[in-house]
Symmetry: C2
Subunit: 237 residues, 2 copies
């Protein structure tokens, strides 16, 4: 038996935990390279990727996460990469990459629909996710999962202060809360730091900005399919 | 005496109700015209404004409200207006207009600081606003008003269904709720339609997208300074 109380509220990250996301960004980056490569003053695909990544990082503190911020970064990077070879047609193509990414249909990760439906009767489920508010609302609504969630929180940063505020607003005791997500940096470490529990379910692709250094002691599941047993068998305690 | 119960919760819109917003967009549009005019294939300033406005409207269902969506619309409109005269420098200038608008300091509307401080002890105050989540959070934090509000809700659309959901989540009875805002279309009509009360406090500039047709029976105050007396004297009942 553990000194902790049992888990009664499960927080779930959305992008790359419930549905695929990062692979869409990666396809968009490939398309961006294809549009830019013929006019690049910077050289090969690797340099184009680096220029885009640098622009995204520089804009993060101002514009935050999500497809709209990413679209603006692509346009800025395109202007820098092509310089006097930039054309209106290239700008249109780049904006279209962003629009297609925004409108992409939601594809659930294998096992998610079953696991969420199985947990819903026994736990209070809350979705805690970053990104564009409008985009996340649309994805949640399309996913068919909304009815299983008691609350849906779209936040702009996943740091300890924001988790503390969200749990307080939702009247959730950290001692009975576990957060589930694909990012050690965003879904696990800040949650552990406020005295709640967290479990890492890695996604097939890791966004470079989300890589975190940790000592390997973070609980990890190979698939979200293992979550109900992990919660039930007390490994979460 | 009225058949209604007394108001105990006051909802306040933020942009152009608590702080200036639309005038910043208007300055940004003037700067956009200045950047585009020399290369415009469309003619004068009025045509440039119309092209931008059309692009914004076309993008609204996809990208929603806020400075990031506006920045993307400016870039698309610039590509269309300048066509083969578009340069990387112009794209940079347009992106910069968006970045400066995003980073603009919050300026409270006259009387707001006093009125909010005066209402806070007697009413539960909630802020209900549209726009970019990150941008609104930053403005709320900068405004110095956050401590007076019991809840802050950033939503993507101000329609009856969304107001109903927000009031339900915050456990607010519509019969005791009044919404205060500068837009008849977003802050008044949808709120009246769910059985709550609302009062219109016009801003000096009305965004064309927010113009609504109504029969003139909507309660209106000349200034937010009149709100405490209006609530107290029962005109809200």
């Amino acid at each position: 038996l553990s000194a902790h109380r049992a888990v009664d509220v499960v927080g779930l990250d959305a992008d790359d935990t419930l549905w695929h996301c990062e692979d869409g960004f990666n396809r968009a980056i490939d398309e961006f390279v294809e549009v830019l490569a013929p006019s690049s003053a910077l050289g090969d695909a690797e340099h184009i990727r680096e220029a885009l990544d640098r622009t995204e990082r520089l804009n993060l503190p101002l514009f935050g996460y999500g497809v709209k911020a990413f679209t603006i970064a692509m346009i800025e990077a395109a202007a820098m990469i092509s310089d006097d070879r930039l054309t209106a047609r290239m700008v249109d193509q780049v904006v279209d990459i962003g629009k297609r990414l925004f409108a992409e249909p939601v594809v659930l990760i294998d096992g998610v629909a079953e696991v969420v439906a199985r947990l819903a009767p026994d736990y209070r489920l809350v979705m805690i996710t970053k990104g564009d508010l409008l985009h996340q609302e649309r994805k949640i609504s399309e996913s068919g999962l909304a009815r299983h969630f008691d609350a849906i929180e779209v936040i702009s940063e996943k740091d300890p202060a924001t988790y503390r505020r969200v749990l307080h607003e939702l009247r959730i005791d950290p001692a009975g809360f576990v957060m589930v997500g694909n990012s050690v940096r965003s879904d696990v470490l800040p949650v552990l730091s406020i005295g709640a529990r967290a479990v890492h379910v890695p996604y097939e692709v890791v966004w470079a900005h989300e890589v975190a250094v940790h000592d390997g002691s973070v609980p990890e599941l190979a698939s979200i399919r293992e979550l109900p047993a992990w919660l039930r068998d007390g490994d979460a305690r």
